[in-house]
């Protein structure tokens, strides 16, 4: 297993929203755990960037927070993906695919030369 890599700037929000698609809602620690398992622990997400990112996205209206009781019986803040959040996710996914394909083309062209 190669050592985990740092997350690329600007992609954290995309990953968080992806984590929330299809689930009712998650609290921050769950999101972190989901990201780790979904990436086979190959991607490092820092708490120091996750929580400020959650609050930023909440402010932009992509997530709504709600207070509830966790399955461990503690008070926890749950995040749900909103309709604007879903739209934003689709937009970011699309631009990510373009980015990858462009970067891919550049790399392929370099290899051919």
């Amino acid at each position: 297993m190669p050592s985990p890599i740092e997350i690329l700037p600007g992609t954290l929000e995309l990953l968080v929203m992806k984590a929330l698609v299809g689930v009712d809602s998650m609290h921050g620690f769950d999101i972190l755990r989901w990201l780790r398992s979904a990436t086979d622990e190959e991607l490092v997400v820092e708490e120091g960037s996750l929580y400020p990112a959650l609050h930023r996205m909440q402010r932009r209206g992509w997530l709504v927070p709600e207070w509830g009781i966790s399955d461990r019986g503690r008070r926890a803040k749950y995040y749900t993906l909103t309709v604007p959040g879903h739209k934003e996710l689709a937009r970011q996914e699309q631009s990510w695919h373009r980015y990858v394909s462009i970067v891919g083309k550049v790399i392929a062209a370099g290899a051919a030369a």
């Binding site: 755990r33 120091g48 929580y51 909440q58 402010r59 207070w67 509830g68 009781i69």
Partner: protein, 882 residues
Amino acid sequence: MSHGPVRRLFRIFDRPPTAADAVDLEIRHHIESRAEDLMKREGLSADAALDEARRRFGELEMIRRRMEGGERRHRRDMRRLKSIGQTGEDIRFALRGLRKSPGLAAVVIITLALGIGLNTAIFSVVKGVLLDPLPYPEADRLVWGVGSFSANSQAAVSPPDYLDYRDQSTSFEYLGGRRGIGSYTLTGSEAPEVVRGQSVTAEFFEALGGVPILGRGFTRTDEQQVSRIVVLGHTFWQNRFGGRSDVVGERLTLDGESHEIVGVMPAGFQLFSEPDFFSPIPLHVGGNLVRRFHNLRLVGRLQRGVSIEEAQAELDVIASRLEREYPESNATWTLPIVPLESVFVGGVRTGLMILWGAVGMVLLIVCANVANLLLARGTGRRVEIALRTALGAGRARIMRLLFTESLVLALVGCAGGVGLSFVALRVLRVVEPGVLPRMDEVALDGWVLAFTIAISLLTGLVFGLFPALATSNLDLSSTLKTGGRGAAGSSGRIRGALVVAEVAMSFVLLIGAGLLIQSFAKLRSVDPGFQPDGMVVASVALPEARYQTDEQRISFFAQLRTRLAAMPGVEGVATSSILPLSGGGNDTYVGVPGRLELGSDQQFNSQFRFTSNEFFDVMRIPLIQGRAFGDGDRAGSPPVVVIDQTLATAIFPDENPLGQRLQIDMGEPYEAEIIGVVGGISGFSLALAPGFHLYLPYDQRPIAGQRVVIRTTVDPVTIMNGVAPTVAALDPLQPVSELSAYSEVVDQTVAQPRFQALLLGIFAAVALVLAVIGVYGVLSYLVAQRAREVGIRIALGARRSDVVRLIVRRGLGLTMMGLAIGLVAAFGLTRLMATLLFGVGATDVLTFALVAVLLGGTSLAASYVPARRAARVDPTAALRQE
């Protein structure tokens, strides 16, 4: 991640922590979760796991700061959103509720529109007439002065006295004088026309702050001699000259004399009413030099910083100096001044305030009725409310919902009210018989609308309060168990109290209206001493330039009388200088040579008229003694006078007045022999004591202007059409003015009491209807609520008449309580309108009794309908229903 449903249940306890706590909580939750994870997966001790979790979290403080900022902003946004969302939700809820019962909503909105509309209309009048400042710059410095002496506090000021006051006082920046508006004949380009001119002194324009927009005003030089110059009123300038700016210097032919236009006043410049032109008064000429001729009324602009009391003190000093200097003319004469504003509103303030109070009461009755309706509905909605409460809506939230509903209703009613007030105001302008000053300035402006919105909100609060209190204070479980059919309890009591209040207020209004209507009827039934019905009046003012000699004037009017009398349907024609009850009057002093000298304290002040020989006959004023004027009473024959019974009794209580000589102040003393005594008449007003009257034969004092009275046997209108052509046949340049039926002229003198009685009558009728609806509504509801009880009673053998009695008794009980409270209130309140009453006391027993019977009777009828319905209750159906 499937813990959603469980968590949802707990969200009810969702009480969000503060922003800082929220961040802490979230971080702590994360660290604890991480620590647990570490303990499980890596087998660390609890302490070590916590340390490790903290280490991995990173720069705690920095992260917290970044989170907190976001959290705070977010909260602020959410709070705003939430309150907007909640209000929106409340309004949607209210509208949904109203749509569910459109009939009720319509009744409520129409009643509200009525109450709010009437209030808006009357307030706009109150504001325009009473509250708005007069349309003059610094109007608070303006004062009004009329001369006063021992017998009359509303006299006038003589020109010499005026000049002394103007020259000797220092309290005024300007002190101007004016005479009443007079009629002039304008000839020239078009057909002869009657125009209205007002004579004013120098400083009159300046005192009111009016600056001519063209040319100049009047100076003291203009007063030295008869100056044939005029300043045009703005409206006349616009209509006659199309607002031409080169009009100064042009000439107008007024009463056959050419006058030069020297100026034009700005739009709206006027005092009481706008004349076509202003002319200067030649204060230093002829009769204007006589101190006994009081014919000016003064308007002054106080110097800045001088109070009205200081000015009065100075005028009093001048008055007593004049009294010492000219004891024969100035004994007891003073010049009291009052704020100009009080002259405008003095006569109508009480009436308007009472009308305002009345519409306020109508609005309160509307509130009570709407509250009642909403209460009835609120009771029907108990289950809904109880459910909402059970589901966690707090009492505050429920009250907020109900209040929003009331406010939505009030605001819709407000919109309707504004529309209605617009109509009401237009109607009012038409109905208003010219008794309210400044009615043309009345408008629905921003202040009025603000007032309307304010009273609408207040209304919503008032009528929303009772339902909100009664409904939000429910016993949940019992309401849910009985399905909301339980006894009305406190809401029933509130409804009863509201009806009592309605009845009480209606009683007060009906009493007020009853007293005014009775006053008006009494006033109208006063015998004026002559018979105005079936008479036509007109005014013919001969211009002195064309009718210079007495013979010309005598001949003109003689011919006119003959020609008018020849018209079919005319029974008789007479002329007189002044007609009784037509708004004008001339008075003078009367003495008896050798016994009762003119100028003494005992001299009589009497109205006088110059009349044609047929006057008493045509007017149907009875001749009591002696004879009327005859053909022998002409120029050069011995002067004669006819006096009325009132004057005869006063001057000659124990003697035969016939053959006695009377001394009459006509500028110079004028002696005449009394040849007849006629019945007394009302001169100015049916409400005032008749006063003294004397008559002089026209042919001995042929003045230029006469009123024509025509006694007809047909519809006066057909005769009216023939008057102007008859005059034109005699003199094509001679106009006729003020042509109308005499009964209409007399009606005008009672226009104000009629107007007040009419308006208050309408308001009281509205109040009565509303109160009856209230009584009916409460009892209908009671019957519906107690159908089961009634059913049981009937099943147990109660007679249907017992049931009717039971319900009616409840209705009468409420009415009686309302009547009792209303009686006490009316005793206190009608006192305020004592000055508006005529011939009836403020606590007139008959009125009180009649109104009580009327109100009791109608509410008895209103109770009977639901009572009959109760008696028809089918016992089996009623019992099965529960």
